[in-house]
């Protein structure tokens, strides 16, 4: 074969032309090594061309194309025949096929084309490389060159047509899409139809494809697309169904294409349900063009659903669009806005969990949006999710604080934000309080007071939270400040009295509460609080052996709060401790008379007798209790009373009734109560029975594990019970028990580790090792 350099059919870049110039220098006998010729005089190569050709051939056969190119280039410089250029071109071609990128591939192919410009296959592959890179015009030129060199090659012609159809200017140049279709060739028919569609002749595209015998899945899809373009969505949908439900499993891109097209066809056929269903099941394609198509189909469907007021479903469609195109700003904005609308509508319907879900989704696109944060905080409050509520209020407060800094010049806006911040802090405090996080609640209310120190209701709330948090000093301070402004505030006086009482300042408590009663005689809360002061005083006097004063104080408590059982009961107990049984009996009778059906009073009075050694009186009260309410609950109460006094046998005499009754719940409650009393060894038998009776109760297994671990130190059994509790909790989807089981499992693991360490360390097992 005669090789022509720079032939008219070759595509050559300016860079390549320059390189060829260097090669021509080389062929003229001036060789260069390592730098371009012309800069320095190069030594004349004296290599033997034949041996260089053989060296190159050997490397070529080993797949070392770089070495082959180098050796053959040397050979050419040393005078080897032009045919060697052809070999160098093939080596470049092979390197192109293995190139890691399309750019690199095109570069190698340019070398090949430059060296063998009349070799059609190199032109074709250069075209493919451009085509892959989306450089359609360059691809077309290279395909055309390949077609000129080998006009009968169908493959080249097909790809040329495909590239021309991809050319953005193709509609304007109908003549640029000549397709000579060999009869019966499906691939040419498809391309002819595609070209017709490209030239806005969809019906011609349909006609071209509809007559195909035994069409492939690709041809079916193509026909469907032609129908769709010709505004025949029903026919289109039926073609796509043929692709998806056909006997052959279509390649993934083809399947994805048919699914996407089904969405569009069903929508255009006004069957939005079918369109949405198709979208829901559509695979996410790997091909970026198909991803764009899926995004477009999903967005169009979403728009249609929204106009039909099917907002939830519109969001589903748009979410699918975002899966393939997560950065599509317009979709993200519309999804967020519609999610917010759905949240508002659900909240209006009282569906707060759903509302919160939508608002969370909306917030993802509008982070820090005060309106959404506030709604989420309020929804969490409605759902009694206090931790979430407090977190949202905190976020909102931070947002409003920033806004307040920005509103320094706008007095009205600033004042409004201050008011909002005060209220938000109060709600934040309430949320923390409800979540049993008292220190945070106190801090929140203190922060609220920074915004409005003159709000006495807020200060009163701060005092109450401090009281609850047992911070009596700060509580008293807040209350004094309230009373300085509102000296007759009875609620503040009652709180202050209670604070003094709890702090141990009896006299201040008494005088404060007396003042409250002077302002509002008969105030029940004030009388109760003052009764509590006298009750505490009575207890203290009994302990000091001053019975007369103790009785007087308790009688004052009774006078203030005659309906409180505990005052009568404690008065009776004081008498019992001093052996005045008749007076005691009278006091106890008054206590019982207040609620004759409550067995607890009788059992507690029995326990008082028992503690002072009056066995018969105790038994009398216990019998009365059992008469009022026979059954396991009373037996447990009596048994626990015995147990607290260390009378284990008498306690179990009572508890054995539960074993007879075989009531799993009572047995479990008893076992748990014994565990709480650190009587784990006693608890084991009841819990074991409870678990036997009700093996599916996860909490029973946990309680039993506890008694095994801490009572019997039987860790393997404990671990087994915890594992069972965990399994049951998972089965029942009970997150609370599951969390407890996780903690218990960790606790048992720690106990095992500790026991192991003790066994292995003789020093730890010595008596008194704990002193270490």
């Amino acid at each position: 074969m005669i090789l022509r350099r720079g032939g008219r059919s070759g595509i050559m870049s300016p860079v390549m032309a320059k390189r060829n110039k260097h090669r021509q220098h080389a062929r003229s006998g001036v060789a260069s090594v390592g730098r371009p010729s012309g800069t320095h005089p190069s030594p004349v190569v004296t290599a033997d061309p034949a041996s260089e050709v053989r060296r190159g051939l050997s490397a070529f056969e080993r797949g070392e194309y770089g070495v082959a190119i180098q050796a053959w280039t040397q050979a050419r410089r040393a005078g080897a025949p032009e045919a060697v250029d052809r070999a160098i071109a093939e080596a470049h071609f092979r390197r192109a096929l293995a190139a890691p990128s399309d750019g690199r591939r095109a570069q190698e192919l340019h070398e090949a084309v430059a060296l063998a410009p009349d070799h059609a296959v190199y032109q074709y592959h250069l075209a493919l490389a451009y085509h892959r890179q989306g450089q359609v015009r360059r691809a077309i030129e290279a395909y055309e060159a390949a077609c000129r060199l080998d006009p009968a090659n169908d493959r080249y012609r097909r790809h040329l047509t495909l590239a021309r159809c991809s050319d953005p200017g193709a509609e304007a140049q109908p003549e640029a899409l000549p397709v000579v279709s060999p009869p019966g060739d499906e691939s040419f028919a498809r391309l002819a139809a595609l070209a017709a569609l490209r030239q806005n002749r969809p019906l011609d595209a349909v006609v071209t494809l509809v007559g195909l015998e035994s069409p492939s899945p690709l041809a079916k899809l193509a026909l469907g697309l032609a129908h769709l373009a010709a505004d025949q969505p029903a026919s289109a949908a039926s073609c796509f169904t043929g692709v998806l439900d056909g006997d052959d499993s279509p390649p993934s891109d083809l399947r994805a294409g048919a699914q996407i097209a089904t969405v569009a066809a069903s929508r255009r056929d006004n069957d939005l349900d079918a369109a949405l269903q198709a979208l829901r099941v559509a695979d996410v394609p790997a091909n970026s063009a198909l991803q764009s198509a899926l995004g477009a189909a999903a967005r169009a469907l979403g728009r249609e659903l929204l106009l039909e007021e099917r907002l939830d479903e519109a969001v589903v469609a748009w979410q699918r669009a975002l899966v393939v195109d997560p950065r599509h700003e317009a979709t993200r904005r519309v999804v967020s806005q519609v999610e917010e609308v759905l949240g508002t509508r659900d909240a209006r319907a009282g569906e707060y969990a759903e509302a919160a879900r939508h608002w969370e989704a909306a917030l993802a696109e509008q982070p820090g949006e005060a309106r959404i944060l506030q709604n989420l905080a309020l929804a969490a409050e409605r759902l009694e999710q206090w931790e979430q509520a407090s977190a949202r209020w905190e976020e909102l407060i931070a947002h409003w604080k920033r806004a307040m800094r920005g509103a320094r010049r706008d007095h009205e806006a600033g004042a409004d934000l201050r008011r909002k911040l005060t209220i938000a802090h109060r709600r934040l405090a309430d949320a923390y309080d409800a979540a049993d996080d008292l220190p945070s609640a106190v801090r929140a209310i203190d922060r609220a007071l920074n915004f409005d120190p003159s709000d006495m209701d807020l200060r009163l709330r701060a005092a109450e939270l401090s009281l609850e948090d047992q911070a009596y000093g700060p509580a008293i301070d807040h209350l004094r400040r309230v009373l300085a402004v509102r000296p007759d505030d009875v609620r503040a006086l009652i709180d202050l009295g209670a604070a003094y009482d709890l702090k141990g300042d009896e006299r201040q408590a008494e005088s404060t509460l007396e003042r409250a009663l002077a302002i509002e005689p008969g105030n029940q809360a004030a009388m109760g609080a003052l009764a509590a002061v006298f009750h505490s005083r009575s207890d203290r006097l009994v302990d000091a052996g001053q019975l007369d004063q103790a009785v007087a104080a308790m009688e004052r408590a009774i006078e203030l709060e005659p309906g409180a059982v505990r005052h009568h009961q404690c008065l009776g107990a004081s008498y019992v401790r001093h052996g005045q049984l008749k007076l005691a009996e009278k006091a106890f009778a008054r206590a019982i008379a207040l609620d004759p059906d409550d067995v607890r009073t009788r059992v507690e009075i029995g326990a008082v007798y028992l503690a002072s050694g009056y066995e018969k009186d105790a038994q009398r009260l216990f019998r009365q209790a059992l008469k009022v309410q026979p059954g396991s609950v009373t037996h447990v109460a009596i048994g626990l009373a015995h147990l607290r006094l260390g009378r284990s046998d008498a306690a179990h005499q009572q508890f054995k009734h539960l074993l007879k009754e075989n009531d799993a719940l009572s047995l479990r409650l008893l076992g748990a109560a014994l565990n709480d009393l650190r009587r784990e060894v006693d608890a084991e038998r009841y819990l074991k029975r409870a678990v036997e009776l009700e093996p599916s109760n996860a909490r029973g297994h946990l309680d039993l594990a506890w008694s095994y671990a801490f009572g019997l130190h039987n860790y393997p059994e404990a671990a087994r019970e915890v594992a069972e509790a965990r399994r049951l909790a998972l089965e029942a989807d009970d997150a609370a028990v599951l969390a407890e089981a996780e903690v218990a499992a960790q606790g048992i693991a720690n106990l095992v580790e500790e026991a192991e360490a003790r066994r292995n360390d003789p020093y730890l097992s010595l008596p008194g090792a704990f002193l270490r």
Partner: protein
């Protein structure tokens, strides 16, 4: 219990004190105590609630903000009248099944023999 005072006065939640006063004055001219006593009472109660800045702030914080309760059609319009590009889809699949997406071209390689290079 009265209705949402903002709704009674035909205001949104961003309304300021002046807006509240203007809306009240406008409505009490329409719903006089003689012509429409019930509505007058409602308007009056709503005004009493909203004239207090504290009460207004409480309402703003303690009630759900329902400002966004209808889809914003401008945002929907911003999505455009996009349709599935049939040609692009077809081209993607046609291209995906052509040599452009192929990787095995062993059949396009030409063998090189020593005899061709060293005659």
């Amino acid at each position: 219990m009265i209705d949402d005072p903002y709704a009674v006065l035909g205001l949104d939640r961003t309304a300021k004190a002046d807006d509240v006063r203007r809306a009240y004055l406008r409505l009490v001219r329409v719903h006089t105590p003689e012509s429409n006593p019930e509505q007058f009472k409602q308007v009056r109660a709503a005004y009493e609630t909203l004239r207090s800045p504290l009460r207004r702030a409480e309402l703003a914080v303690q009630a759900f903000d329902e400002t966004v309760s209808e889809p914003d059609l401008d945002l929907v319009a911003a999505l455009g009248d996009e349709e599935l590009d049939v040609v692009a889809l077809w081209l993607a699949i046609e291209t995906g099944s052509s040599d452009v997406a192929a990787t095995d071209f062993a059949h396009d390689m030409t063998p090189i023999r020593e005899a061709d290079l060293l005659p």
